[in-house]
C-alpha cells in the first residue's frame, strides 16, 4: 500500500496554505509532518481525509481496497475528540465501532489497551484532557483501518501515555499500516520527516 501526493495545493479563506507539496508514505512507514504553526499541517491531513477540497494536484492510494474511497480507509484523529459528554466512555466507543463498521474488535479490550478499562461506565464529561485523548486513541484500535492520520496525537498525554501510544503506533506499522502525523513533539517511533511551510 502506498499513499502519495503530487503538487498538492490548498487554499483556505483566499490564502494559499500549501502549494506544490509532494509526499509519499508506504506500508509500515510513518511520516511526521512538521512545520511552524499555521503552515498547513492540519490542512494537509484534512485534505487526505477528504474533509477539505483539493485546490490542485492529486492524492493517490495504490493497492488499497478497490471498493472503498480513500477517506473510508482512513482514521482521522483531530483536535476535537468526537466524544459526547453525556454518554459513558464505553457507549461512546461502542457507537463509533458500530457506526464506522468494517473490521472491528471488542471495545472493552481497546479501552483496556489504552488504560481506560476502569472508567468504562463513567460519563465522558468527567474525563481529563489526557483521558479523552486516550479514548480517541481507543477508537483507532477498536476499528481497524490501514491509514492513520494523526493531528498532534500526543498532546495532553502524560509520559506513560506517550510511550503507550508509541508502542501502539509501532504495532500498527508492523501490521503494514501507515501513519501520517502532524506533530511538534517526537512520535517515539522511527519516522521520516516532511517539513512544510516557509522558513522565515
Amino acid at each position: 500500500m502506498r499513499l502519495s501526493g503530487r503538487g498538492v495545493r490548498c487554499v483556505r479563506g483566499g490564502r494559499e496554505v500549501l502549494s506544490g507539496l509532494d509526499f509519499e508514505v508506504c506500508s509500515g512507514e510513518a511520516l511526521a509532518v512538521t512545520g511552524p504553526n499555521g503552515s498547513g499541517k492540519t490542512s494537509l491531513l484534512r485534505i487526505i481525509a477528504g474533509l477539505l477540497a483539493l485546490a490542485g494536484g492529486s492524492i493517490d492510494l495504490e493497492s488499497g481496497e478497490h471498493e472503498l474511497t480513500l477517506a473510508e480507509q482512513v482514521h482521522y484523529l483531530g483536535h476535537r475528540d468526537a466524544m459526547k459528554p453525556a454518554l459513558s466512555v464505553l457507549e461512546n466507543l461502542s457507537f463509533w465501532r458500530n457506526f464506522l463498521g468494517g473490521d472491528a474488535s471488542d471495545p472493552e479490550a481497546s479501552l483496556n489497551q489504552v488504560g481506560l478499562g476502569h472508567a468504562a461506565q463513567l460519563p465522558a464529561a468527567y474525563l481529563s484532557a489526557g483521558q479523552r485523548r486516550r479514548l480517541s486513541i481507543a477508537r483507532l484500535l477498536a476499528i481497524r483501518r490501514p491509514i492513520w492520520l494523526l493531528d498532534e496525537p500526543t498532546s495532553a498525554l502524560d509520559a506513560a501515555g506517550q510511550s503507550l501510544f508509541a508502542n501502539l503506533t509501532r504495532d500498527h506499522l508492523a501490521r503494514g499500516g501507515l501513519v501520517l502525523a502532524a506533530t511538534h513533539a517526537p512520535l517515539g517511533v522511527e519516522a521520516r520527516e516532511l517539513k512544510i511551510g516557509r522558513e522565515s
Binding site: A49, L52, L68, A71, G78, D81, A86, E91, L100, G102
Partner: protein, 222 residues
C-alpha cells in the same frame, strides 16, 4: 443498517439524558399553549375556534427551537468529520439523524397534545384530529428544518438564521395542518383533501430534506 441504527440510538439517548434537547421542546410547547387562554380571555367558543391554530403554532415553534442543535453539536465536537468520512452515505445519515430528532423531540409534542387540548376547550374528537395532523405534519417540519440546520452548521449562533431560512418552508405545512384540523372539527370542507396534501408535504420532505442537507454539509466543510 447497524450503522444507522446505532446513530439513531445514540442521538435519542443523548436527547433524553441531562442537558439533552428532548424536554426543552415539550416545555416550550406547554408554555405557549398554557399562556394562550390567559391572553385570549375566557371566551370558550373563541378558544375552541383558535385551538388547532394555537396547537400548531406551538408545535412549529417548539420544533424550530430544538432543530439548530441537530448538526451543530456534532460539528463542534468533531463527530461530523467522522460521520462525513464514514462508509454510510451522508444522505442516509442525515435521514437517520432527522428521524432520531423527531422521535426524541417531535413525538413528545404529539403525546402532550391531548392534555393541552383540554386547556383550549377542544373536545376529544377535535383533539384527536389535531394530534393526527401533528403526527403527519411534524416530520415535514423536522425534515425541512434539517436543511436549515445543515446550512447554519458552520455559523456560530446560527439559531436565528435557521428560523429565517426554515420558516418559509414551514408555512405550507402550517396552512394545511391547521386547515385539516379545522375541517375535521367544524367543516364544511372535507378532512381528506388538506390531510392528503399534508401527507404529500411530509413525503416530499423525506426525499428532498436528506439530499439537500447532505449537499449543504459537504459544501460547508472546513
Amino acid at each position: 443498517m447497524t450503522a444507522l441504527a446505532a446513530l439513531v440510538r445514540r442521538d435519542i439517548r443523548i436527547a433524553l439524558r441531562v442537558g439533552g434537547g428532548a424536554l426543552i421542546g415539550v416545555l416550550f410547547f406547554l408554555i405557549v399553549v398554557v399562556l394562550m387562554p390567559f391572553a385570549i380571555g375566557p371566551d370558550l367558543a373563541l378558544l375552541a375556534r383558535l385551538g388547532p391554530a394555537i396547537l400548531w403554532l406551538g408545535a412549529l415553534l417548539a420544533s424550530l427551537l430544538t432543530l439548530d442543535r441537530l448538526f451543530m453539536a456534532d460539528h463542534e465536537d468533531g463527530s461530523l468529520d467522522l460521520i462525513v468520512m464514514s462508509r454510510t452515505p451522508l444522505e442516509l445519515t442525515c435521514a437517520a439523524k432527522a428521524l432520531a430528532h423527531w422521535l426524541a423531540a417531535g413525538l413528545p409534542l404529539i403525546i402532550a397534545t391531548p392534555v393541552l387540548g383540554l386547556l383550549l376547550n377542544l373536545d376529544a374528537s377535535s383533539t384527536l384530529a389535531v394530534a393526527l395532523t401533528l403526527l403527519v405534519g411534524t416530520p415535514a417540519l423536522t425534515f425541512t428544518g434539517m436543511i436549515g440546520a445543515a446550512l447554519a452548521v458552520t455559523l456560530h449562533r446560527g439559531g436565528l438564521l435557521l428560523a429565517v431560512l426554515v420558516l418559509p418552508l414551514s408555512i405550507p405545512v402550517l396552512i394545511f395542518g391547521v386547515a385539516a384540523s379545522e375541517a375535521a372539527i367544524s367543516g364544511p370542507l372535507s378532512f381528506g383533501t388538506p390531510f392528503s396534501i399534508l401527507c404529500a408535504l411530509s413525503l416530499v420532505s423525506f426525499v428532498i430534506g436528506p439530499f439537500a442537507a447532505a449537499a449543504s454539509l459537504r459544501q460547508g466543510l472546513d
